[in-house]
Structures are given as structure tokens and as C-alpha cells.
């Protein structure tokens, strides 16, 4: 029976709704400016290529240090000297982690043929790392006792609310409450209490509430949430204002509707705080707004309008495909709702959608070997895992944490047979993290994907602007700087 329920659901679920999930980051973007979100989806405008190597390296290091050196050196200091001392002892205990993260980034840059890193790279990574530790000691450790556990870089999916997000760190305290922490690693500026940092934190609060209570609106377990930046922290006061919460939910709905191909009303902010410092809208944004307006008025020449229509239609097909990649999560969630978690997992396993019964055997440089605890040839169902398939390795936690909110890592299957599964990770940091977070937990494997949507949308944007450059006289877009087709 399970086979049929599950397979039928795969067939019918997309009729009921498009299986889109909105990422916390995308919600934050919509909150700042709905057009900024539309620039990415559906238009495919890619922002300036910024270099995030330093930020990523610091992120890697701090995600490994959180459950180890940070937790061990957690102290409630009072003075600047105390904070310095705490940060230094964490620095000392994380030296190995930091050096490994730096070495990994360097070899990755070399392998990918990127522009070589500056000589100051090591120093900048160490300095930012230290700055974040000061911020943590000064604002978080000072107030809260030592947590009993830290989980880092976990992807939480709340299917019912169509939201997904990656949480930097959650500290779990003795009284079963949690503190949510986001690291601002991309520069040494303050986190903005009014901009994208705040909205992303609130969006992630909703996911974390879901992880601990099964309900994004249940704040009973929430102790604090903070964006830690260089030597400081942004701490919104709890309970959060209803106005903020409803804005996040409203903009989540907006982003979801856009992804589904609907046309919710978008309001341009009174001035443009994001794209240009002087408040000027950016050219791509002005172009698309004017383009839609002229299309609505029926002013576009037929030949251009045809190409425009084709490019827009293709963009929505790309978005539909993005929805397809989330389908597994919708099916898993629906079956769990219908049958309860234990029965649902059995049915899903029987159908070959998920694979359970694994435990971690060993973790090497950048891969994990999982073995089946128990294998019976007669009962075994065929696994659909095969080399190069992308999977989410979930460590099933107790305490009623929903399956899609448990600790997890993403990887690529390298080898699979009846009793053994080897999964490669995208870097040593993930393997290290898996060692700390997944070991000793029962493992469940579900299918996953990587999101290439923006990369696929980008050529459509380029040709759209090229078509306008060539086929429309400039009068059409008065004020929109032409010559923006990407050269």
C-alpha cells in the first residue's frame, strides 16, 4: 500500500501546489525590497561578483569552533579585558581549526583557478574570527550561562510554511531553551538592525521555533537570537514586535507567490537604500519595471514583445524545475503528517525514497562511510542511491524534533552497495562537522539537490537586455541607462 500512497503523492502533489520553498535569505531580501527579490527570481540578474573567500573561511572555522572551543571556553566575563582573555583562549584552542580552514580555502582557490589570495589573507581571517569571538563574549556569553550543546550550519525545512534556511549556530541550554546565532563574516561592519541582517534573523527564528516545538509561532523555547558582528552584536528585544513578524510572513508569501508564477503587488521602497548609495534605483531594476509597464500598456513592438514573452516563459519553467527539486520534502512531510513519523519512514523506505538503518562507520578527510546496522537480503528493498547522487544525511535527533529540522549535511554519493554507503562532502570542514554532529545518531538519507536556478536564469536576463538594446529605441526606456546588456 505504501508504494501506492507515496507514488500517487508524487504524481498528485504538484497539482495541488507548486512545491516551492523560500529560503530565509530570500525572505530577507524581499523584506528589504520586493524588487530586489524579483531581480533574482524570475529575472536572473546576478549581483556584482563579490569575493567571499575570507567570509567563507571564517564561517567554516567558527562553525567547527562553536561546539568545541567556544563551548569549552564559555565564560561570563564583565570587562573588556575579560572578553579579550576569553576570545584569546578560544583563539588558542581553535588554532588547529583555523589553520585547516585557511589551508582548505587556499587549496580550493588554487584548484578553481581563482584570483590568488592577498598576502594579508591569513591575518584577515584570524582578525575577523577574533572580532566575532569578542562580539560573542561581550554580548552573549556575558548574559547567558554555558550552553550544554551547540549545533551549527543546519538546514531546516518547514514544508507547511514553505520555508527553508540554513542556520549558522544554535546554542542549547540546560533549561531546554535555545539561543540562535548568526555570524556576520562578510565584513567588519556592524550588523544592520534595520536591513537584511534583521530580517534574516527573524526568518531564521521562525525555523528554529519549528525545530524545537514543531510550530514556528511557539516562542516558549526561545531564549535569544543575535547577529554577531566584529566586536559587537545585534540583539533584537524579545518578544519580537508583531509588526516585524507579520512583515516577514507577508514577504515570505510574496516571494512564494512570485516563485509560483503569480503576480503579487510589489511596492518599490520610497528610495533605494540597497542598490545605490545615493538612493538611485539601479539600471536593471528600472529596466524591468519599465519593461513590464510598457508591456502592460501594449506599447512594445511585436517582434520584441515575442522575444520578451519567450524569455519570461522560459524563466518560469526554470522556476518550476526548482520546485520539482523540493518535491521529495513535500512528499516526506505529507506522509509523516498522514501516518505518523515511524510508519511514514517505513513506507518511504519501502518505496525507495529514503534510506535508513545506517550508522557512521568512519569519517575521513572529506567523506563519510556509513554502514547498515542490519541487512537482510530477502527483506531489502532496492536503494535508488547511485554514485554522484546528491543526498541529505540526516542525524535523527530525539525530543520530537521534526525529521526535516534535525542536524544534517549535504553530500554526493561516491560508492554504494547492499551494506555500505560512502558519501563525499564538499570540503573537509563539512566532514569535520559531520564527525561532531552526526556521529552516534541514527542516520536517514533523503534525496537532495543543489540550487543552480540563478545560474540557469542568467542567460535569459542577458538576452532580454540585449534584445531591448537592439530592438527598442532609447525613448522607450527614458532614464534607463542602455548599454547594460552585460558587456
Amino acid at each position: 500500500m505504501g508504494d501506492l500512497i507515496v507514488r500517487d503523492l508524487y504524481k498528485t502533489i504538484s497539482h495541488a501546489q507548486k512545491t516551492h520553498l523560500v529560503q530565509s535569505k530570500e525572505i530577507a531580501t524581499s523584506c528589504v525590497c520586493p524588487y530586489l527579490f524579483k531581480m533574482s527570481y524570475p529575472f536572473g540578474v546576478v549581483g556584482g561578483e563579490r569575493d567571499y573567500v575570507i567570509a567563507n573561511t571564517v564561517h567554516d572555522a567558527i562553525s567547527l569552533a562553536s561546539p568545541t572551543a567556544i563551548l569549552e571556553n564559555w565564560q561570563q566575563g564583565k570587562t573588556q579585558n575579560d572578553f579579550e582573555r576569553i576570545a584569546k583562549s578560544i583563539d588558542k584552542d581553535s588554532e588547529d581549526i583555523l589553520q585547516k580552514a585557511i589551508a582548505n580555502s587556499k587549496s580550493r582557490v588554487k584548484m578553481e583557478g581563482k584570483t590568488p589570495l592577498l598576502e594579508t589573507f591569513d591575518f584577515e581571517v584570524q582578525d575577523r574570527f577574533h572580532g566575532l569571538l569578542i562580539g560573542l563574549a561581550k554580548r552573549v556569553m556575558k548574559k547567558y550561562p554555558q550552553p550544554k550543546r551547540a549545533v551549527t550550519e543546519i538546514t531546516i525545512t518547514n514544508v507547511a510554511e514553505v520555508q527553508e534556511g540554513r542556520i549558522d549556530a544554535i546554542f542549547e541550554f540546560k533549561d531546554d531553551r535555545y539561543g540562535l546565532v548568526e555570524w556576520k563574516t562578510n565584513d567588519v561592519k556592524r550588523a544592520s538592525g534595520s536591513g537584511v541582517d534583521r530580517w534574516q534573523l527573524i526568518a531564521n527564528f521562525l525555523l528554529t521555533n519549528y525545530r524545537y516545538t514543531g510550530d514556528e509561532n511557539n516562542w516558549n523555547r526561545c531564549l535569544f537570537g543575535s547577529v554577531i558582528y566584529y566586536e559587537g552584536a545585534y540583539f533584537p528585544r524579545l518578544p519580537l514586535s508583531e509588526e516585524w513578524l507579520s512583515k516577514v510572513k507577508k514577504d515570505r508569501k510574496f516571494a512564494h507567490e512570485i516563485l509560483c508564477g503569480e503576480r503579487p503587488h510589489a511596492q518599490k521602497p520610497p528610495f533605494c537604500p540597497v542598490c545605490d548609495r545615493d538612493g538611485e534605483s539601479r539600471s536593471d531594476c528600472r529596466f524591468y519595471r519599465e519593461d513590464s509597464k510598457q508591456a502592460l500598456l501594449g506599447n512594445l513592438p511585436v517582434d520584441y514583445a515575442n522575444i520578451r514573452r519567450l524569455l519570461l516563459r522560459r524563466r518560469y519553467l526554470v522556476l518550476d524545475e526548482r520546485a520539482e527539486t523540493h518535491k521529495h520534502k513535500f512528499v516526506i512531510n505529507t506522509i509523516i503528517d498522514r501516518l505518523g513519523e515511524a510508519n511514514a519512514l517505513q513506507e518511504l523506505e519501502k518505496t525507495g525514497v529514503i534510506n535508513s538503518g545506517y550508522r557512521i562507520h568512519s569519517i575521513n578527510a572529506n567523506s563519510v562511510t556509513l554502514v547498515k546496522k542490519y541487512y537482510n537480503d530477502d527483506e531489502a528493498t532496492l536503494t535508488l542511491l547511485e554514485p554522484r547522487k546528491i543526498v541529505r544525511i540526516i542525524g535523527k535527533e530525539d525530543n520530537g524534533i521534526p525529521l526535516l529540522a534535525c542536524v544534517n549535511e549535504k553530500g554526493f554519493v561516491r560508492e554504494v552497495d547492499d551494506t555500505k554507503l560512502i558519501v563525499d562532502f564538499d570540503g573537509n570542514t563539512i566532514a569535520e562537522r559531520a564527525k561532531t554532529q552526526l556521529r552516534n545518531l541514527p542516520i536517514i538519507i533523503i534525496p537532495d539537490e543543489i540550487n543552480l536556478t540563478r545560474r540557469v536564469l542568467e542567460p535569459m536576463h542577458r538576452f532580454h537586455r540585449l534584445a531591448a538594446d537592439i530592438m527598442l529605441p532609447p525613448e522607450f526606456f527614458l532614464g534607463v541607462q542602455n548599454n547594460e546588456s552585460g558587456f
Binding site: G113, P301, D303, L384, P459, E475, G486
Partner: protein
């Protein structure tokens, strides 16, 4: 340049070398799409018809094939100095002498650049005055648009735009000042200076919208541009090229004379149970087998009996044809994995088992094709698509063995959302019917599965 190309390949090479537009070259199975693509790149550089050529394939395997072909044509030494492979280093075959790099300077220096579609975005801002795109495996229009973008000629675009600046009437009447009419995207791309040859086969390619009925990428190019077709297969012997020609409707596909009468040569005679199946003179054999289909995963299918039979036939073939390459093809991933499991247990880890999607661009001396679907409703589903069947039956150089329920396939239905019953208005007669009929009446033989391989 004439390095043993056939007359059709030469015609296409001459046509494409001298034309500066976007065009399609249709290459039915074994007609040498990769050879023509690589040769075209070399010809254009050698005859100074182009200064920088981009060769693009969808998969790393196909990009590697381009590299091998270039080495064949140019010799390793020259290929090393002229060509550069870029993209994702993990997909590059290290045994190929053509160097790999992602460095902008090195890419700028070389004349022929080989890349996969998805890695193009990482190329430095360059422009190519000619490009050859292998369409096999491309399932999205966007995967064609990226390479096209690298052909857009910046000064050409600037020139068009400057026409507006000199007009200056500013009347906003919507009339374009460019001296031609642009009716669709291909024309726009072409008018912006992109010169490209897209090689592919609409009879093997999947639609560009996975969830809807749509054109394949090559059909899209054919519809909007000029096109020529290669019709001499260097892979398929006469009986197979005849079968494929009639089945897919290639309108004149034929075998190259030197391979036309090629047949399987065995090192020793098969055991009695396998004799009818392996019979070398019969190029195509359909083994009629009545195994039960089994749903696996969200939408896949397996058929244990067929999988076991494939593994057993394979094992026997390995014993009696030591030097022959063998491949097993099926439409369904679950069946592929089931067959692999049986082979693994029998100790055969090296036999290639692939889905029809993965089979594009591959070939083997002997091919086994497991149809998998078998149900009372005769619903063949996706296993009965022309493109998939065509890919599966056209990979073999000497012998094709099809495993499946003959009655089910010769009366099969496709469409109708999978499990729909007969009479469903969305169902249509599956292409599997035509294949079964052609094999039974003209190009092969249908034999009952011997007891020995199904138990």
C-alpha cells in the same frame, strides 16, 4: 583537409566552414557528430576562417570525446599547443594530452577551447568567432543560450546601438532602426554576430521542458535556422541501420560500406540454451520474457526477472566473446540498479549498465536492452518514447538483444499519466509497437526466453 571523412561529412564541413550564421547539423547514431564537430573547429583554425573556436558539450564525457577526436585529427603535439580544456577539473580525463586550465590568460591564448555548457559561466569575458555545440544531453534551452552568449560580437551590438544615437528624432514611435527584421531569439542572436553549429539529433534528444511536451533543443534550432543531415553510420551494420532508419524515420540512414556486413564473431559456440539468443547472424534478437514489473521510488520501475536474465546472458557472453565490449541499457534507473546488483553479485563490476539518458554518446559491440515495463493494461509509459527506444537500439556495433514482453510491447500504450486504463483519451499508441513489428517482420527475430535464464 580530408582525413578519411565520408562524403556527407565533407559536405557538412564545407558548408559550415564558409557560412556565418547559426545552423543545425543532424547526426543520426554513429554518423560522427563528434568527429564532424572537432574537424570543423580544426578546419576553421587551419584555414584561418576563425581565430577562436569554442567546442561545447553537455557532459564532461562528451567534452573529453571532443578532446580525443582533436588529438586524433591534429596529433597530440599540435593539439596540445592549439587547444585547451576548461571547466570542472574533476570531470577531465587526465590521460588526454590537451592541457586543462581555468586561467583567463591561458584561455585567451589558445585557439580551440573545449568546455561543458555548465562551466561556461566561469569563463572570463571572452568572445568566440565560431562555436560548435554538441546538443546531446541538453535538456534546457538555457544550456544553449550560454554558449550563444559567448558568440555575441560586442562591436556589432555597439554599431546597432549607435544608429539610434545618430537618428535623434526621438519620436518614440517604436520603429527599430536596425536594417533587418528580427522575428525570434535565434535571429537576434545570429544578428548579434554569433556563429554556431549545433550538432544533435531530434530523434534522440529529450524535450527542453522536463515537465511538459516541448521541442528538444536541436528541434528548436532546426525550426529557426538552416539544417543538414548526415546519413552514413559508421557504427551500425546494415540490419541495424535499416531498423533504426525505419523506426525513427531518418529517411535514408545507411551503413558505411566497410562495416555494413559486420557480424558478431564468437570465440566459442554458445551453450545450447543461449544459442538462439546469441545467434551472430541475427543482428537483433528479441527475448520474449514475462517478468513482473515493480514500482520503485517516486516514478521508477524494475523487473527482477528481466534483470536476472540480463545478468545471465551477459555472463555467458563474457565467456564466449572475451574481447567484446558489452553494455546494458534500460529506460529506468531502478532497473539499472537492479541489473547492477545482480552483476555485482556475479562478480562483473565492469560491465556498463546505463539508462537511455546516460547511453547517449556511448557504443558497445553487444548491447542488451531491458524494456522493464510489463502490466495487464499494456501501459509502456516512458519506456515507449521514440527517442528513448531509438537511443537504446542504436548503440550496438554487432549485436542487439532486447528483453521484454513482446505481446505487451506490440500492443502497448503510452501517455495517460502512467496507470490509466485502456480507453483513456490521453493515451496514444506507443512507439514500442512499431519497434516490435519491425523486428518481428523484417530486421530480427523474436525468441522465447529459455527456462534457464528466467529461474
Amino acid at each position: 583537409m580530408n582525413l578519411g571523412f565520408d562524403s556527407e561529412q565533407l559536405r557538412v564541413l564545407n558548408w559550415r566552414a564558409t557560412n556565418r550564421d547559426i545552423a543545425a547539423v543532424v547526426g543520426p547514431p554513429g554518423c560522427g557528430k563528434t568527429t564532424v564537430g572537432s574537424a570543423l573547429a580544426v578546419k576553421m583554425i587551419a584555414e584561418t576562417l576563425a581565430t577562436k573556436v569554442l567546442l561545447v558539450a553537455y557532459t564532461n564525457a562528451a567534452a573529453n570525446e571532443f578532446c580525443l577526436e582533436l588529438c586524433d585529427i591534429l596529433g597530440s603535439k599540435v593539439a596540445k599547443s592549439l587547444c585547451l580544456r576548461t571547466g570542472n577539473p574533476t570531470g577531465v580525463d587526465p590521460s588526454i594530452p590537451i592541457p586543462f586550465s581555468r586561467s583567463a590568460n591561458e584561455i585567451k591564448e589558445k585557439r580551440i577551447i573545449i568546455s561543458t555548457n555548465l562551466s561556461l559561466k566561469k569563463l572570463p569575458a571572452l568572445s568566440f568567432d565560431n562555436m560548435i555545440i554538441d546538443e546531446a544531453g541538453v535538456e534546457r534551452l538555457e544550456h544553449l543560450l550560454w554558449p550563444f552568449w559567448f558568440g555575441v560580437n560586442k562591436s556589432q551590438v555597439e554599431e546597432y546601438k549607435s544608429r539610434y544615437d545618430t537618428r535623434g528624432d526621438g519620436d518614440g514611435d517604436g520603429n527599430t532602426q536596425i536594417p533587418f527584421k528580427i522575428n525570434d531569439l535565434i535571429e537576434l542572436i545570429s544578428q548579434c554576430g554569433t556563429v554556431a553549429t549545433v550538432v544533435g539529433d531530434p530523434k534522440q534528444s529529450r524535450p527542453i521542458s522536463p515537465m511538459r511536451v516541448d521541442y528538444s533543443a536541436i528541434e528548436w534550432v532546426i525550426k529557426k535556422s538552416t539544417c543538414d543531415t548526415l546519413r552514413i553510420s559508421h557504427r551500425l551494420p546494415d540490419l541495424l541501420s535499416g531498423l533504426v532508419n525505419e523506426f525513427a524515420g531518418y529517411d535514408g540512414l545507411r551503413s558505411a560500406p566497410e562495416i555494413s556486413s559486420r557480424r558478431l564473431v564468437l570465440e566459442c559456440s554458445p551453450d545450447i540454451e543461449y544459442r538462439e539468443i546469441i545467434q551472430p547472424d541475427e543482428v537483433t534478437t528479441w527475448v520474449d520474457i514475462n517478468g513482473e514489473e515493480q514500482p520503485i521510488g517516486p516514478s521508477s520501475w524494475a523487473n527482477n526477472m528481466e534483470a536476472k536474465a540480463c545478468a545471465k546472458i551477459c555472463s555467458h557472453l563474457v565467456r564466449i566473446t572475451r574481447s567484446k565490449s558489452i553494455a546494458i541499457i534500460t529506460r529506468f534507473k531502478a532497473q539499472k540498479l537492479t541489473i547492477m546488483r545482480y552483476l555485482q553479485r556475479m562478480g562483473y563490476r565492469d560491465i556498463k549498465v546505463t539508462t537511455t539518458t546516460g547511453a547517449l554518446g556511448t557504443q558497445a559491440d553487444i548491447v542488451l536492452f531491458s524494456l522493464t515495463r510489463n502490466n495487464p493494461e499494456r501501459n509502456v509509459g516512458a519506456a515507449g518514447t521514440l527517442q528513448d527506444l531509438n537511443v537504446a537500439i542504436s548503440r550496438s556495433k554487432e549485436k542487439l538483444i532486447i528483453l521484454g514482453n513482446f505481446d505487451m510491447m506490440s500492443n502497448g500504450w503510452s501517455g495517460g499519466g502512467g496507470g490509466a486504463s485502456a480507453g483513456n483519451k490521453y493515451q496514444y499508441k506507443s512507439s514500442a509497437r512499431k519497434l516490435a513489428r519491425l523486428i518481428d517482420l523484417k530486421y530480427g527475430r523474436v525468441v522465447d526466453a529459455p527456462q534457464m535464464i528466467i529461474c
